[in-house]
């Protein structure tokens, strides 16, 4: 760790494990893109191997989640006030928000869950949070197979607006990647993150309007409540997805700009934050 700038004592020697400059690091990361792809598809299939139903759980879990939330929030608590097509509204919310949660929790274990690799092979560690985020993204794409029929059956028409789902999910993926970089470094440094994150993600879910309409909720509250709640990145991405799939949920240009700002800002800051910790990940 002493003086990375010091010249080598013998020409041609390099400091072992030295963090590369960010441009070279990024290039190395790009060279490992096949590793990211292979790792993601492998761990995606391995994740369910211990179950009888195997990968069917990729679709069953979100379905059961929707059922539970519909019973609790739609039927028991009547959170559906002010929402015309509640089941479709809720489904989009649950599926899209699940991507944020799984990127967060799997990202926090990206380093600690792969110590075997980290302690055995030298590669840019950023491939690990990138892989865990890609796994979460693949699961989101799978869950669209359930989501789209639900939305159609619930009475929403198929329109050209649906194509807006692609840029919306792409921006969300960039945001989640940035988030994964941040929590991967935090999780490597603070093992207690595993205990803290579930509370954070639950709080985040209940404040993001997954199962109720934020517009309706903020009506009786001061203006700043609405501002804070609508700036929440998860809410922004939910809005964009709902705008694409459901009628009567128009997202203004400002929402797209907020989504873009969150995506680029989080990714750049998160990547740099993760890169700065590159040398410490083996010492976990």
């Amino acid at each position: 760790m002493t003086l990375p700038e010091a010249p080598p004592p013998v020409p041609g020697l390099q400091r072992a494990g030295a963090r590369l400059p960010v441009d070279v690091y990024t290039q190395r990361l790009w060279e490992r893109r096949w590793f990211v792809a292979a790792y993601s598809s492998a761990s995606n299939s391995v994740g369910y191997e211990g179950n009888f139903l195997g990968q069917a759980w990729q679709l069953l879990t979100p379905l059961l989640n929707i059922l539970v939330y519909y019973l609790v929030f739609g039927l028991l608590l009547h959170s559906n006030r002010g929402v015309p097509n509640y089941i479709a509204f809720l489904s989009v919310g649950v599926f899209v928000f699940a991507f944020c949660t799984s990127a967060l929790t799997s990202g926090s274990r990206a380093i600690t869950g792969n110590l075997g690799l980290v302690r055995a092979l030298q590669f840019p560690r950023a491939v690990l949070p990138a892989s865990t985020t890609l796994v979460a993204f693949l699961r989101l794409l799978y869950s669209l197979l359930v989501l789209i029929p639900i939305v159609l059956i619930s009475g929403e028409p198929l329109t050209w607006h649906w194509l807006l789902l692609l840029p919306a999910l792409a921006l969300q993926a960039l945001f989640c990647l940035g988030l994964a970089f941040v929590v991967a470094r935090l999780g490597a440094r603070i093992p207690d993150m595993n205990e803290i994150l579930p509370f954070f993600s639950r709080l985040w879910m209940y404040t993001s309007g997954v199962m109720y309409s934020v517009t309706v909720f903020t009506q009786g509250h001061p203006g700043w409540v609405s501002t804070v709640m609508t700036l929440n990145p998860a809410y922004v991405y939910l809005q964009l997805a709902r705008n694409a799939l459901l009628i009567g949920n128009p997202a203004p240009v400002s929402t797209w700009l907020t989504a873009l700002a969150w995506a680029v800002g989080t990714l750049v800051m998160g990547y740099l934050y993760f890169w700065r910790g590159e040398e410490e990940y083996g010492n976990v």
Partner: protein, 274 residues
Amino acid sequence: MSEILTDASASASPEQTVLVDDVHLTYRVIGGSRRGGAPAALRRMLLREENPGQRSVHAVRGVTLSAFRGEAIGLIGPNGSGKSTLLRAIAGLMAPSQGVVWTRGQASLLGVSAAMMGAMSGEQNIVLGCLAIGMSPAEIAEEYQAIVDFAGIGDFVHLPMNTYSSGMGARLRFAIAAARAPDILLIDEALATGDAQFRRRSEKRILELREQAGTVFLVSHGLGIIRESCTRAIWLEGGQIILDGDSNTVVDAYEDKHDRGARTAPAAKAKDRS
């Protein structure tokens, strides 16, 4: 100390590949002894007492060494003497808490402790391992069969790695890491678990790699292997170098201290598990 070594390498003809300059390594250990359960832990937090669960282990204490192209260096020492930790520092996988490790090119480590991904098949692990060290999919397709053949694990290659015996796991990892001749090869007890046939094959491969690559470091409790395949040996104990020199001289001295019985009984000589 580093100045002396540097001067020596400048005048000598072989190229210097590794310089470990007064390196200390400290592990942070979380867990350890936690007594009294949750109430005691909370009380410690509130009273701002030092958490006995967090300790640090000073595994390597001021090691300085140089290695040159063409050398095969055996690291010997009792368990916990800092051999594996030192290898991780040379591979750049652990940052020293003090001192610097310099290498020429990339050092790559292969060890039994580094389980890859247990839930995935050997096949997947080969592909992942090769991709992680930066091989392209085309290169892997070319090398794949050679790796499987070298590992010699037969149909087990299709099963998850956590169903392997420790010997099979070690063979597969050795085959993956040895697929590409690295500049500096670090081997951590990968040979101790293989059977006699695999041991011969891997010794042959180490010789090949030593010719192609630069330098080989080998950690082993099998003193026989150190004598046979290393040109030089370093005896570590308590995180410090006790003796560094010709492999037979160092192993003899080590046996004199730790393994007197094994010298008189040649059958036990190959395995020293102190």
